[in-house]
């Protein structure tokens, strides 16, 4: 009894802790159920073209959601992605019209890097919470998009062939970029010290510092990746519409976060997977597409999406409570 007797025995070694496998199993099951239902309800649902539609519809959000997942794993969030996509898209559009496609795309990506550096430096140097910082830059980039475009949609006819291109396996360019980003994301999170550091930072930033993780640098890089992804998304949107609109991607950040949270990433950081986010994206894509095929009113589609998000977040909370008991 001479001990510090306050020790709480956290270790019930027999208990199966919450792990990623069952979470993804539940999600996959949900996706399969949706697919089964919609293929029964609509004869068009299982067609190849329809699936290409589904993938195209989620690719813009998906390209952003992959780095978004990385950020959330590190307990960071980037709300500026939608307006940054419009911002980079508008600048790139103007530049393409004046200097040609390759230079314009390059410039758009450079703007994306600058966007990421700006967000990242504000958060890591000024220590402003990422939610608040990017809520601010969300407004700034949206405003700047209107200013730069003079409040008008900028027509970018030169980019139309990219929007229509199906260079590989008859897949649209947007889908190919999405798939490449996904594969890169999975590999980075699994096999690089950078990706692994994100988990550690999200799980316990103070402890990460004491084991020599360069947290500010890692977070900055992650925001830069997010910025580049918004530039890619902005370019794809511009190519699809053959126009850069300052209103483009309005509210995109919400679809992105919905997919990430649905995919099982913890809002507290430290947990989540890219494959989970991909499942989340597919669930949203299939649900939207299926509801359209069933002629469900678009307003009800929004209700369905919102409901889905709440269910996903409650899952996250239940997992926190039932899965791992924090000692």
């Amino acid at each position: 009894m001479k001990t510090k007797a306050t020790e709480v025995k956290a270790g019930d070694l027999e208990k199966k802790p919450g792990r990623s496998v069952p979470e993804l199993a539940a999600l996959s099951l949900f996706l399969v159920a949706l697919i089964v239902y919609f293929s029964w309800a609509s004869e068009y649902f299982l067609g190849v073209e329809n699936w290409i539609n589904i993938l195209s519809a989620v690719s813009v959000a998906g390209i952003i959601a992959v780095p978004g997942t990385m950020l959330l794993i590190a307990a960071q969030v980037d709300l500026s992605v939608g307006s940054a996509a419009a911002f980079t898209g508008t600048i790139a559009g103007i530049w393409i019209n004046s200097s040609g496609v390759p230079l314009g795309i390059l410039f758009g990506i450079i703007i994306g890097i600058i966007v990421g550096v700006l967000n990242g430096l504000l958060i890591t140097r000024l220590h402003v919470n990422s939610l608040i910082t990017t809520l601010g830059t969300l407004a700034i980039f949206r405003g700047l998009s209107y200013i730069i475009g003079g409040g008008q949609t900028v027509m970018v006819p030169d980019l139309s062939y990219l929007g229509l291109a199906r260079p590989f396996l008859n897949l649209p360019l947007a889908v190919i970029v999405f798939v490449v980003v996904c594969i890169a994301g999975v590999l980075v999170m699994k096999y690089t010290t950078f990706g692994r550091s994100l988990y550690v930072i999200g799980a316990n930033p103070a402890a990460a510092r004491l084991v020599g993780i360069r947290t500010p640098r890692v977070i900055l890089i992650c925001f830069i990746i997010s910025g580049v992804s918004t530039a890619l998304a902005g370019l794809i949107l511009t190519s699809q519409l053959t126009a850069a609109s300052p209103m483009a991607a309005n509210g995109l950040e919400l679809s992105v976060i919905t997919a990430i949270v649905l995919g099982g990433a913890s809002l507290n950081g430290g947990r989540g997977t890219i494959s989970g986010t991909i499942l989340g994206l597919l669930i949203i894509g299939v649900l939207n597409n299926g509801l359209v095929l069933l002629n469900v009113d678009t307003f009800w589609q929004q209700v369905a999406r919102g409901t889905l998000l709440i269910i996903a977040v409650s899952f996250d909370q239940l997992r926190e409570r039932w899965g791992i008991k924090h000692g």
């Binding site: 510090k4 025995k9 690089t192």
Partner: protein, 499 residues
């Protein structure tokens, strides 16, 4: 001074068990009006259990508490408050973003029909402060006050709420000597007003200065009740640790020490510690022993680069070492375990293998590419060596392990990345007895075998006896003694640390 007619609070034959283990074996406590009773005892002696029973936080299994003509066999927090018992905790429970006046009135705001009366609130706060001779502006935010002042505000709050019995839990642990003097003035002011105080402390020198009587608990029984002015320090130490505790240091202590790894010279940090000098040698476990607030912890943190504003010199392998952050220290092969494992040590939701491997990632990874194979192997290897009890699943979250096993994982963390120096803050805090023995064995063996230097900072004298080859004793930010091998002795180090 022991006038029983002025009895304020009497506890008789208090017994209390937790999970079948009795921690209080029928303890009495008597407090007179205007009396300061110093309550002493080692960690786990039952002091906090006893005062928590008085505060109504725990219910005694048997025994009674009486005050005036009222007698209670069980006391709940509301009854305890009604008796005027208030506890001032070591961890302040104030609201830093509110003003002094608001803090003092907290919970019983002066109001008229639901509208708070600020003028009344300030009036009340100012009179409580003035009564105790405390000069603090009642409109200041509590968060802007120094720690000692915040404590005084808490005392003022208790007094304005009609406290008759004040329980002070190691009130000077975090105070400077000037703040301590001020606190003693306030205690004397309270004494003249008839408030009885139970003063828990580890500092034996304070007993004679501030207390009237002293009561020592050991292993749940009272081992001494004496006049505070007459009790000698030796008497108190003996009553605290008893005679059955082994005073014998590790028999082969000091035999394996090799060349100097780290030379600490005149290290100082603000008013936390000053002029600390010692050497850490290869193959030894060196303990930096001191009570809470002695600065020992901060010396350890400074070596790990957590206080770059420090002055004095560190010499590592014959060259100057100026760590500005943990990364500098890790590069110099220094490993570090913080005292607060939950908050600063472990990545609770992450797998055990990852928890173990993070600082070794740079070594595992070629150009930033890493696979889990190496870290899983490392986990299996160390889990066998250190007898880590788990499911033997490297993917198991560390939160599912017991405290002792978590600590073993975190310790392996630094063995795995070949640290040459380990700085361990309170390495067995919250660790059960079995795992504690394993950890001591591991520390001694790896120091010897791998010729690494291990510096532990601890406030547990038994830990020093069991693990250290050498001990540097600190008190109030100063090095007060150094003992080696067979010369390490419980009562000696406790006494010097209490100076």
């Amino acid at each position: 001074m022991l006038a029983t007619d002025s009895a304020l609070l009497t506890a008789s034959a208090i017994r209390k068990s937790f999970g079948g283990v009795e921690v209080l074996h029928g303890v009495d406590l008597h407090l007179a009006r205007g009396e300061v009773l110093a309550l002493l005892g080692e960690n786990g002696a039952g002091k906090s259990t006893l005062v928590k029973i008085l505060a109504g936080d725990y219910v005694a299994d048997s025994g009674s508490v009486s005050s005036g003509d009222k007698e209670y066999s069980t006391l709940d927090p509301i009854q305890s408050r009604a008796l005027g018992i208030r506890m001032i905790f070591q961890e302040l429970s104030d609201a830093p973003l509110l003003t002094v006046a608001e803090n003092i009135s907290m919970g019983s705001w002066a109001s008229k029909g639901g509208i708070v009366s600020w003028s009344k609130m300030h009036e009340r706060a100012n009179s409580a402060l003035a009564m105790l001779g405390i000069e603090i502006d009642s409109s200041r935010l509590v968060g802007t006050l120094r720690i000692g002042e915040r404590q005084l505000v808490e005392i003022a709050r208790a007094i304005s709420d009609n406290a008759q019995v004040l329980i002070l839990d190691e009130p000077t642990a975090a105070l400077s000597s000037a703040e301590t003097d001020k606190l003693f003035e306030v205690i004397n002011a309270l004494r003249t007003r008839g408030v009885g105080m139970i003063y828990i402390t580890h500092r034996l020198d304070e007993v004679g200065i501030i207390a009237d009587r002293v009561q020592v608990l050991r292993d749940g029984s009272q081992s001494l009740i004496a006049d505070a002015k007459k009790a000698s320090r030796l008497e108190l130490v003996k009553a605290m640790i008893g005679h059955e505790i082994s005073n014998q240091a590790h028999p082969e202590a000091g035999m394996h020490s090799g060349e100097t790894l780290l030379e600490v010279s005149q290290l100082s940090l603000g008013n936390i510690f000053s002029d600390i000098s010692f050497n850490l040698r290869a193959g030894e476990v060196l303990a930096l022993y001191g009570k809470v607030g002695s600065g020992a912890e901060e010396v350890g943190e400074t070596i790990f680069g957590l206080h770059p504003e420090r002055t004095g010199t560190l010499t590592l392998n014959q060259s100057a070492f100026t760590p500005k952050n943990p990364i500098d220290a890790i590069r110099a092969f220094i490993g570090f375990l913080p005292a607060d494992r939950q908050r600063l040590g472990a990545f609770m939701v992450r797998p055990v293998a990852e928890n173990l491997a993070v600082p070794s990632w740079p070594r595992y990874a070629a150009r930033g590419i890493i696979t889990k194979v190496k870290e899983n192997d490392a986990y299996m290897r160390w889990s066998e060596l250190l007898k880590i009890k788990s499911r033997n699943d490297p993917e198991q979250p560390i939160a599912t392990l017991s405290g002792g096993n978590q600590q073993k994982v975190l310790l392996s963390r630094w063995f795995e990345c070949d640290a040459k120096i380990l700085v361990l803050i309170e390495p067995t805090r919250g660790v059960d007895v079995g795992a504690r023995r394993d950890i001591y064995t591991t520390l001694r063996e790896s120091a010897k075998k791998n010729k690494i230097g291990i510096l532990i900072t601890t406030s547990d004298h038994e830990e020093v006896i069991q693990v250290a080859d050498r001990v540097v004793v600190m008190s109030r930010g100063k090095k007060v003694a150094e003992y080696e091998g067979k010369n390490i002795d419980s009562s000696k180090i406790i006494q010097t640390a209490s100076e």
